[in-house]
Amino acid sequence: MRSVRKTFGKKVAVEGIDLDVPAGELVGFIGPNGAGKSTTIRMIMSILFPDSGELSVLGKKSAVESKDRIGYLPEERGVYKKMKVGAFLRYMGALKGLGGPGLGKTADEWLERVALGDVKNKRCEELSKGMQQKVQFIGCVLHEPDLIILDEPFSGLDPVNMRLLRDLIREQHDAGRTVIFSTHVMVQAEQLCDHIVMIHNGQKVIDDPIGAIRSRYAPRIVRFEGLNGADASAAVGGLAEIAHVSATDGQAEAHLADGVDPGRAIAAMTAAVPMARVELHRPSLEDIFIDMVQDTADKDERERLRAQLRQDGTPTEAGGAS
């Protein structure tokens, strides 16, 4: 994608995004609700068209020419209520250019794999939302696409199915396919991706391999707990290596002073106070994200974002401008 921009009326949904996704990568699009993830994905899929900028998909000018090589699970997804599950999958396969007697067999095998072997002849409306989602995922990978795009694939799944889906995504990745998925829950991206693209207010704020992000945002916080519950904050705060002490979620956190090596600080802390626990805290994507938008957001805004990035609930009613 090159300088891709998309507006809906006066609202700018995506503002000049440049993005390259190399073949075979597993990339996570993260960002809060309404950041522009779905709009970006819809433009990649040529369901929406950018106002300006260029993009190419699988070497073609637009995804329209290579739809059969792409598997797409939209955020706004559904099934034909009255259609039987097997028929629905066969229809999706046929639309993707599959055909012949092998199609039904492949669909059945997939249903077995996601523990839905017995629903083939049920109507889609008889399935739970999570089951429907698994059926949709099958519809998305049935034709063995080269590129798989999943928009919020985990929303609405229980932990067991979330793990199942994670394994299936990893398996597709291991088979050499390119996978792009979006989520507003940062933890999911951390668990799965090689590469993270973070979008905020329609702009790309991070585009790096996860290792690089980790090393760039080197840990500068030490979490600690005094032995026998003693309050060690005052003693720690007095050390030269520590800039200040704060508390997040009931955890005491020592923020390292500039240029101080974490190892030296931990040694100084344990020397100063008997500790039950001292731990170098690796920043999560969530922390990094909150940190990144800190300049623009006030405190309430930060808390709201944090809550949103953790929440694993269903996405809000997203309009065309999500």
Binding site: I70, L73, R77, G78, M83, G319
Partner: protein, 460 residues
């Protein structure tokens, strides 16, 4: 556009609409059941002839000249004989062209009337008090044969005019409320004939001679064509355009309505974006329109087929010009595409069927107008306004078809010009609909109004 994908969409569209219980029952079974029930109803009507009515009929003859004859004519034997004449007369009238139908109705009527009633006659005399006599109609008797069913009061001047009057008098029939209408009309007819025959006798006219004099036999209207002379069927010719237009309307509306329903379903169940991952919006729209076209055509072909079979059955197939059928298919296609494009656009723009209603209002008005206007058009197919209407879309397919099926079909160049104009209009509507469709598909939330739709057309 990938034709294979369009066909897959069309196939699913057809299967999900026409292969459902609702469709098969509504569109195929119900008409078949009606068709099967019709003969049954005929049988029931025939078997529902009333039982022979038994009882007394009192005659108060103020003229003193009709009573005797009437009493004679009301005996079962006389009634049976008179009834034997009735169908014959009806049949004669039909043959001579006085009545549109053949002897079928007469014999059906005869069987419907049932057995003749068995009356006992009481002559009340010319001065009987009618109020007294009416009391008989309220009496009850153990023996049914003793019940007085009716009283006939014949006016004093029924057969001979009062001095200075130009008109004759008549009669009044009083009956019990429960007396069958067929029985009372038998009495009425008999009284009337008795009065008439008495008047003829008094005037010195031979009744049979008079009937012969007043009956004119006609050879019917014969149309002379190259192929020979044939009986004209003007009445059916008037009905034919209506039937053709109704068929067209039904086929178009059925397909269009289903298209709207499935489109809204795809949107509200959010399956639409899943589909868009495999097909382009245009492939989706084309597939859906094509699929519902098959549904509409299935109905059209089936009902038209039944109609043609009926024509074959009554050996009136020559009423039908085969080129008319071709035109019908062409105009069906055009009218359907216009409506379907509109329905697809509306379906893509709304989230629920309910929201579609307000947008559909104007379309329905135009369609119903087209339907109703076709009737006057078929009656005066060459009137300037009728000619104009047959060139103005979206009314043109209906109006032109009404003209084609009428008794004065237009010239071929007019038909093809109308086809050209209507096709262009249909193409334009598809073009506009495609724009709305592309934008509308992914729009959820507030239902759009016409202003929004126009904005979308500009946007796409």
């Amino acid at each position: 556009m990938n034709v294979g994908k369009v066909i897959h969409v069309a196939k699913r569209e057809f299967a999900s609409t026409a292969m459902t219980k609702g469709f098969i029952i509504g569109a195929l079974v119900l008409p078949a059941v009606f068709a099967a029930i019709m003969p049954l109803i005929m049988v029931l009507i025939e078997s529902a002839a009333p039982p022979a009515e038994v009882g007394r009929v009192a005659i108060a003859d103020r003229s003193g000249q009709v009573g005797g004859l009437l009493a004679e004519r009301l005996t079962p034997e006389a009634l049976t004989e008179a009834r034997g004449d009735a169908p014959k007369e009806l049949a004669e009238q039909a043959e001579s062209g006085e009545q549109p139908d053949t002897g079928g109705i007469a014999s059906a009527a005869a069987s419907m009337i049932g057995e003749v009633p068995r009356f006992q006659i009481d002559a009340l005399g010319p001065d009987a008090d009618i109020e007294d006599a009416k009391g008989r109609l309220l009496e009850s008797h153990e023996n049914k044969a003793d019940l007085t069913l009716a009283i006939v009061e014949i006016d004093a001047d029924a057969v001979e005019r009062t001095e200075g009057e130009t008109q004759f008098g008549g009669y009044t029939l009083y009956t019990r409320p429960e007396v069958d209408v067929r029985t009372s009309s038998t009495i009425e007819n008999t009284v009337e004939r008795a009065i008439k025959d008495t008047r003829y006798r008094i005037a010195g006219v031979d009744a049979d001679e008079l009937r012969a004099l007043t009956r004119v036999r006609s050879g019917g209207v014969q149309e002379v064509t190259e192929a020979g002379t044939r009986e004209s069927n003007k009445a059916l010719k008037l009905i034919l355009p209506f039937a053709v237009i109704m068929l067209l309307f039904m086929g178009v509306m059925t397909g269009g309505q289903y298209l709207l329903t499935t489109m809204v379903e795809e949107k509200s169940s959010r399956v639409v974006e899943v589909l868009l991952s495999a097909v382009s919006p245009m492939e989706l729209m084309a597939g859906k329109i094509l699929g519902q076209l098959l549904v509409g055509s299935t109905l059209l072909v089936m009902y038209a087929g039944v109609g043609i079979l009926a024509l074959v059955f009554f050996s009136m197939l020559d009423l039908l010009e085969w080129t008319d059928l071709l035109y019908m298919m062409i105009f069906f296609l055009i009218a359907y595409v216009m409506i379907a494009a509109f329905m697809a656009a509306i379906g893509s723009a709304v989230n629920e069927l309910r929201e579609a209603q307000s947008l559909m209002g104007p379309v329905m008005i135009v369609l119903v107008l087209a339907l109703y206007m076709s009737f006057p058009v078929s009656l005066s197919p060459s009137a300037p306004w009728a000619v104009a209407m047959s060139f103005i879309p979206p009314v043109s397919p209906f109006a032109m078809l009404a003209r084609i099926a009428s008794t004065e079909p237009p010239d071929a160049w007019q038909i093809w010009l109308s086809i050209l104009i209507s096709s262009l209009a249909a193409w334009g509507m598809v073009w506009i609909a495609a724009k709305i469709f592309r934008v509308g598909l992914l729009m959820f939330g507030k239902p759009p109004n016409f202003t929004t739709l126009i904005k979308w057309i500009r946007m796409a």
